[in-house]
Amino acid sequence: MSRQPYVRPVSKTTWYMRNGRYRKYMLREVTCLLVGVYCFLTIWALAALAAGADTWNGFLASQQNTVMVVFHAFALVYFLIYQAFDWFKLAPKAMPVQLGEKKLPDRYIIIAHYVAWAFVSLFVFWLTGVI
């Protein structure tokens, strides 16, 4: 009897269409584009800040339009779902905590992340005078 194993082809470009799990993963991975965009937006802001009050006010004015409102709103929701909350959800896998013989339930680690996140957010809002 001869062996002749059959290797099923895997598409290198469309493999993630195979199931929902993979598609969700890809939606998470592309959040890196948003991170890049906001990094360079912030660098642009720093450049304006370094150039003086007029440039800074000009920069703020340039940001005030409907297109940016829509983009930021979309980015905020997308980023929260696919990066921030996902990151908190996966944190206990990377950093499990064992107390004596018992593993600390994942939800406590996740809750701690949410609390820290709320704290950071409120702190930044306080710092910038939003609240």
Binding site: V35, Y38, T42, A84, F125, L127, T128, G129
Partner: protein, 113 residues
């Protein structure tokens, strides 16, 4: 013992991912507030300038932006791979170079402020 360079790269990626998860929602929210035509007290020139002049503010801004850039660059490298681009060395050089340029620009502008 061979620990691949990827250990270093991944360490920065993970640190950056944590930073983005905690800081970027509020950062995006600030951009949104500004876009809506509201300039909060803390973003008026005098106040934000004072913040960025302070070394604590400078350090915080630099760490957040550079780690986030690195996070984005590394993940983008994986995204290229996942979409079927197999020139990993070229992709890695390109994305890390962009992250490096961003980091240098950040340091430069913070230095000028």
């Amino acid at each position: 013992m061979a620990i691949a360079k990827k250990a270093f790269v991944w360490g920065l990626f993970a640190a950056g991912g944590t930073v983005t998860a905690f800081v970027f929602p509020v950062l995006i929210a600030l951009f949104l507030i500004v876009a809506l035509g509201i300039v909060p007290e803390g973003l008026r020139f005098e106040n934000i300038y004072a913040f960025a002049t302070n070394w604590v503010g400078k350090t915080a801004l630099f760490i957040v932006i550079s780690l986030s850039l690195w996070h984005a660059a590394h993940r983008l490298r994986v995204v290229f791979h996942d979409f079927g681009v197999r020139m990993d060395n070229a992709v890695a050089n390109a994305v890390y170079l962009v992250a490096l340029i961003g980091t240098v620009l950040t340091a430069f502008y913070l230095y000028k402020i």
